[in-house]
């Protein structure tokens, strides 16, 4: 490939004869047609359904927000904290309390409530679809086998890529945000639910059958209660996925914190960062609260006797009573629906938030990191430039300027060697499709960012992962950090780097590295850890040093997990790299962002499709042989 690059540099762009020129204008007119259909007096049945769904989603979002506002801000805090206290314990309740206090002090109460409302609606709808499907897949092997490839495929698609098509079908607004979230959050809900049902000991299920249970009795008396913890964890994951997307959904008319971030990126950096912090706090609080509830209400560990059950019921009633009392008192005393910016007493007016102070602090921090003389700048600037100069740009040039057929053949060949024949065919078709759509060069730009970021993530991930596998102490220290990193919405990763390394493609790349690292670390650690002790023992018996054991035995034997890390890493990196399009990393992400912001629908959809194709191609190139074995 390199030889071809030097010999034939820049000579062979993707030929126009192989491009479907009118694609994007066709899409534009299709969009116009769709718009006409939707607004027509007598929409046909499909559009009636779409519209009905949109109305339902919008109604749900509004209902949730109205409910929270009816509770008043006092009641909202009381209800959340007391409910979490009752079912999740005081630690989680404290975190939730802290979260609401920070939303209030940050002066982002209203936005937080909007985000919560949006997310709750999305979660409710996702679970309404995901849990029944998951239960089905948990009970039927056939159904499970048929649905698994679909779920796999859905998880390859970066969330950013379906904003555009959804907007076209549902137009901008909270409904579109809810739908996007559902597409993103349903697969994990289905998968975890199915795994939960499948994880129930077959002995218990067989016993139920042997005693003459009907299918429904087995489900409700045995499988669901025993899988309860897993089901709640799937709720937890659904919430985290939903939050991750609700934030991006700021771009397509989802209001709330995401909106503040996506708008602030261009106009008010400090505000964007503040909202980003609020999102992080919300993510952590939601995660801890739902995880604690899942743990503590697990009937197999709770050991509720009759007495305990009665007491639990009383506690629940007391909690509900207390919430009601607080809400009524708060309303009687005239508490505001939303946390106010200032409190008035008869004599004075207090500022109720530290919004302005926070903004000022953040701004000064921003000024510091962006000051060419500062210490931090002295570190971040060269790193960014170095990455750009020596990795991103050269690789981009190689991919873009090497004749297209050489790149195509090279990537297909790699897929064939690493993964086998069928993945290679798929990868070839996907790459060819990218060319036909006329975005070959742009896509190669994105690919270069993805490859650099993946290489970095995998390199760092392997080093840390191996270290953690060798030293339990390191692993213990890493675990909470990794847990937290894994709960953060994708967009949040990018925000700090926009300001820390404000050079074109760098924020997206660095953020995506950070986003992918935890998963790579986890996979490498478990891979190295699971190397059979017998092999290690044998090597040690031959007098291998610890380093030799590591390099010659453990890492080679853990190759499969590392390969899996590469595969998962590349998909995660792609998801974030395209979001980087919002902040100037160019390439496909930029086309989508422009499509969304300037209504260039055709271009946006083409870019979305190209992202999808690129995702599938990269997945097939790196998937390795693993999917050959039935799972």
């Amino acid at each position: 490939m390199l030889a071809a690059y030097f010999l034939l540099r820049g000579e062979f762009d993707w030929p126009t004869s192989l491009t479907w020129q009118e694609l994007s204008s066709r899409l534009d007119s299709a969009q116009g047609w769709l718009l006409d259909q939707r607004t027509a007096e007598h929409p046909n049945i499909i559009f009636a359904i779409l519209d009905g769904f949109r109305a339902l989603a919008e109604w749900l979002v509004t209902a949730f927000i109205n409910a929270l506002e009816w509770l008043t801000w006092v009641g909202t805090i009381a209800a959340s904290v007391l409910i979490v206290l009752r079912f999740g314990g005081w630690r989680a309740a404290l975190i939730v309390f802290g979260a609401f206090v920070s939303f209030a002090l940050m002066g982002l109460w209203e936005e937080s409530i909007q985000t919560l409302g949006l997310m709750s609606a999305a979660v409710l709808l996702s679970l309404a679809v995901g849990i029944p499907l998951g239960v089905l897949a948990g009970r039927s092997d056939r159904y499970y086998r048929s649905i698994t490839p679909v779920l796999d495929a859905m998880q390859i698609v970066p969330a950013f890529a379906y904003l555009m098509p959804v907007v076209i079908l549902f137009s901008v607004g909270p409904a579109a945000a809810v739908i996007c979230t559902m597409i993103y959050a349903i697969p994990p809900a289905v998968r975890i639910t199915a795994l939960g049902i499948r994880g129930v000991t077959p002995d218990s299920v067989e016993a139920a059958r042997a005693f003459g249970s009907t299918a429904a009795q087995t489900l409700f008396k045995v499988q669901l209660p025993l899988a309860r913890r897993q089901l709640l964890l799937s709720v937890n994951q659904t919430i985290m996925f939903a939050l991750s997307l609700v934030v991006i959904a700021g771009l397509i008319g989802g209001r709330g914190l995401g909106d503040v971030v996506t708008n602030g990126l261009y106009s008010n950096a400090a505000l964007a960062i503040l909202a980003g912090i609020a999102i992080v706090i919300m993510a952590i609080a939601l995660d801890r609260a739902t995880a604690a509830i899942a743990e503590r209400t697990d009937p197999t560990r709770q050991h509720l006797t009759d007495e305990g059950r009665r007491r639990a019921r009383i506690m629940t009633l007391a909690t509900l009573g207390a919430i009601l009392a607080i809400v009524l008192v708060a309303r009687a005393l005239g508490a505001d629906a939303l946390y106010p910016d200032e409190f008035e007493t008869s004599t004075t007016v207090f500022t109720a938030t530290i919004h302005d102070d926070l903004l000022r602090w953040i701004q000064s921090a921003l000024d510091y990191v962006q000051d060419p003389d500062s210490f931090i700048f002295g570190i971040t600037e060269p790193i960014g430039n170095f990455l750009l100069e020596y990795f991103l740009e050269p690789l981009r040039l190689v991919l873009v300027e090497t004749p297209w057929f050489v790149v195509l053949a090279g990537l297909t060949g790699m897929a064939f060697v690493l993964s086998g024949r069928r993945p290679a065919i798929t990868a070839f078709l996907m790459l060819a499709a990218i060319g036909v759509m006329g975005v070959w060069a742009v896509a190669m730009d994105t690919a270069s960012q993805v490859l650099v970021a993946t290489a970095l993530a995998v390199a760092i991930g392997i080093v840390i992962g191996v270290w953690a596998a060798e030293s339990p102490r390191v692993e213990r220290m890493l675990r909470p950090l990794l847990d937290t990193l894994q709960t953060l919405p994708q967009l949040v990763y990018i925000i700090p780097f926009i300001y820390l390394m404000p050079v074109s493609r760098i924020p997206g790349v660095v953020a995506s590295v950070l986003y992918a690292i935890p998963v790579v670390i986890r996979l490498v650690t478990s891979g190295v850890r699971n190397v059979s002790p017998a092999a290690v023992e044998a090597a040690s018996a031959f007098g291998a040093s610890r380093m030799q054991v590591l390099l010659k035995v453990k890492i080679p034997l853990a190759r499969e997990s590392i390969m899996l890390g590469v595969n998962q890493g590349i998909i995660m990196v792609l998801a974030v790299v395209v979001i980087g399009g919002l902040v100037g990393s160019g390439a496909l992400g930029d086309m989508v962002a422009r499509g969304l912001q300037r209504n260039e629908f055709g271009e946006g959809v083409v870019a979305s499709l190209a992202i999808l194709a690129l995702g599938i191609a990269l997945d097939r190139v790196t998937q390795g042989q693993r999917r050959v074995q039935p799972r």
Partner: protein
Amino acid sequence: MTDSDGIAAVETIEQVPAAGVSNGEPVVRAEGIWKVFGPGADKIIGTPDAELSRSDLQRKTGCVIAVRDVSLEIKPGEVFVVMGLSGSGKSTLVRTLIRLIEPTAGNITITGRDVMQADTGQLRELRRHTVSMVFQHFGLLAHRRVIDNVAFGLEIQGMPKAERLARASEVLTLVGLEDAANQFPDQLSGGMQQRVGLARAFAVDPKLMLYDEPFSALDPLIRRDMQDEVCRLQIETGKTMLFITHDLPEALRLGDRIAIMRDGAIVQLGTPEELVGSPADDYVANFVRDIPRTHVLTLRWIMRDPKPGEETGGPELDVTTKVNDAVPMAAATDGPVRAVENGRCVGIVDRLSILQAMADRPEETEPSAPGQGGRPRTPADRSSPAGGSS
């Protein structure tokens, strides 16, 4: 428990000759059960493929024959033991009886009702009221208290809560766990957990109890306790039981009759005495090799006819006395001991025959096929039809 109304009664089955256990029509009657796992399973039976060895069949068709043409009858009140090495098809066999695993072929009747013809509802009724099962790994429900576990079968039947809890605590008392009613399975030891499993099976007052290696997961001392428990419950309640084990002492302790399985087929079916006294082939002989014969064999197996003119006085012992238990008396008298049945002398046992029985290891007596000559007189009422192995 009232049995379901829906299941068609099968025509009265011809009377089986009086068994050692009880008269009456068999609780279970299974004929020609096959279970083949794998693709195209039903096309294997009756073809030459069915005669292939396990590995050949697997290579050729991808199928495994787990149960091979098994027939058996279990009489009311009988404890019927199925024994065999791991993988011989015991679990599969017992599950096919109530169609937890669908048999590939065969006829099954339980308490006179045709199981194979039963529809889903009838099958459920059968499992709810007539048959209950105890599992190797207990199969308890971790999210329920012990008493709710015991009441599970009754709950499934739709019995009201108060009633089923009352019944469950009754049964818990029966297995000596009344104090643990409010605890959870994971708070109990393995032995106690299996008592809960027993209680759950007993609670529905079934006609037939199936045990699939219920005690294999327990350590030897507790296993013995539990065996005693089963013996006691069986005597107290007179339940019919099908008991699976791979532990020969357990089989001999509990079983009225024992079927030995290999590769899915029954190779011998008989009383403990018959298995130990005349193993059908090397496989069975190997199984029973380490069992002290005198603990199993009765006087009937070693007695001989009195020689003409031999003294017919002397001490008497019932003909069903174990050889081992006859030793003290034989040692205390000079002359032979008379074996009596229903007050009538049926044979003579002397020290020599006892010593021979003690010295006699199965591998030294040439194994003889059942029904062949060359073995001690087999008591007529004990000679079993040897199920499907014929």
